[in-house]
Amino acid sequence: MATSLLPVSGQALDAQSLVAKIQKLCPAAQLRPDCDRPAVKVPLAHWPVLAQQLFASADLLFDLLETHTAIDWVQTGQIELVYVLTSLQCGHHLTVFVDVARDNPVAPSLCAVWPIAQWQEREVFDLFGVHYTDHPDLRRLFLDDDWQGFPLRKDYADDFMLERPS
């Protein structure tokens, strides 16, 4: 019980060369400086192609979509999709941010690249209302099917929630 079926085949890149490499693949990608780990902001139109490249490029090999979630920036009218990627084979990390419009949030599904995205995207659809095109089964995940609204949006309100008395 010692051998690994998925050998460490690549080399871990440091933050600078990782971002440089990604900017080479997709010049529109920008470094997001306020993150503690290597992070890039990618325009929505470039994202599906770049995702495939991140997965397949021999020196990047982001095989694990560690998590996918969203941030609701209510003041700028954007929902920022967050993809936390890990390469088990190389040992480096990358966080990708993609903006979608808050009033019409549509993004491409990444199930074809990372199968786990199917359920992570369902969670984001359930709680933020982001629609994923080409998703095989886009339904609510946690809440009842007839639930109104998307609770993790900042302006969500219903007559059930209680405010903590200050």
Partner: protein
């Protein structure tokens, strides 16, 4: 409860001395009910580990009080121990389970979530604020999660309620819910001593012999 018990009060009460006989029968029935509570395995979150699994396992041994026969089916259970948070999606299922249980049925709500919503009271869009918004509760056992001893205390409280509770002449009487919180100033050791005393009173095993068998474990559990 059945053909016999349903018709018993009507048959006995007109007879001379029938009332006294009925009281005696009540005592027997209530005693049996109190000492053979079959709980439904219903655990939604953290409390399930403490009040269902740890209490049912070897050390705390729910079997001492006749309540260890956990049933997965509500049809066979007469005690619903709500162990964990109830959210909006689960609430109709909880109600269904409770309605599937045969009378007389009893409900113990354990833990902050089942009592009031607990840590998820504010700003949660799904958490029901207490299981009693869905079904009537007999005994509340506070804690987050309650210790196994706290559940045993709650169970003893329920047994007391049952023994003093409904009679055959007035079936289905509405019971007043009880908070089974440990009284102020009461320590865990007192509860343990009280439970040990109770077990001693009704013990049918040869304790001296049992002590030698369990000696190795007793020394281990006292580390």
């Amino acid at each position: 409860m059945g053909l016999v018990t349903d018709n018993l009060p009507g048959a006995l009460l007109p007879l001379p001395g029938g009332g006294a006989l009925l009281t005696a029968i009540d005592q027997v029935v209530n005693w049996s009910r109190a000492n053979s509570l079959w709980p439904l395995t219903f655990g939604t979150s953290c409390c399930a580990i403490e009040v269902m699994m740890a209490t049912g396992a070897a050390r705390h041994d729910l079997a001492r009080f006749g309540a260890e026969v956990a049933r997965p089916s509500p049809r066979q259970a007469d005690l619903l121990i709500i162990a964990g948070t109830i959210v909006k999606k689960m609430a109709p299922r909880l109600r269904t389970l409770w309605e599937q249980m045969a009378e007389p049925r009893y409900v113990i709500a354990t833990g902050s979530c089942a009592i009031s919503g607990g840590p998820f009271l504010y700003h949660s869009y799904t958490t029901i604020r207490g299981a009693d918004e869905v079904i009537p509760v007999d005994v509340y056992v506070p804690g987050c999660p309650p210790r196994p001893e706290a559940l045993l205390y709650g169970l003893l409280t329920l047994q007391k309620m049952i023994r003093e509770g409904t009679t055959l002449a007035r079936p289905g009487e509405v019971r007043k819910p009880v908070l089974a919180a440990l009284p102020d100033g009461m320590t865990l050791h007192q509860v343990r001593a009280e439970i040990a005393e109770l077990v001693q009173e009704t013990a049918t095993v040869d304790r001296a012999a049992a002590a030698t068998v369990g000696a190795s474990y007793a020394s281990a559990s006292r580390v």
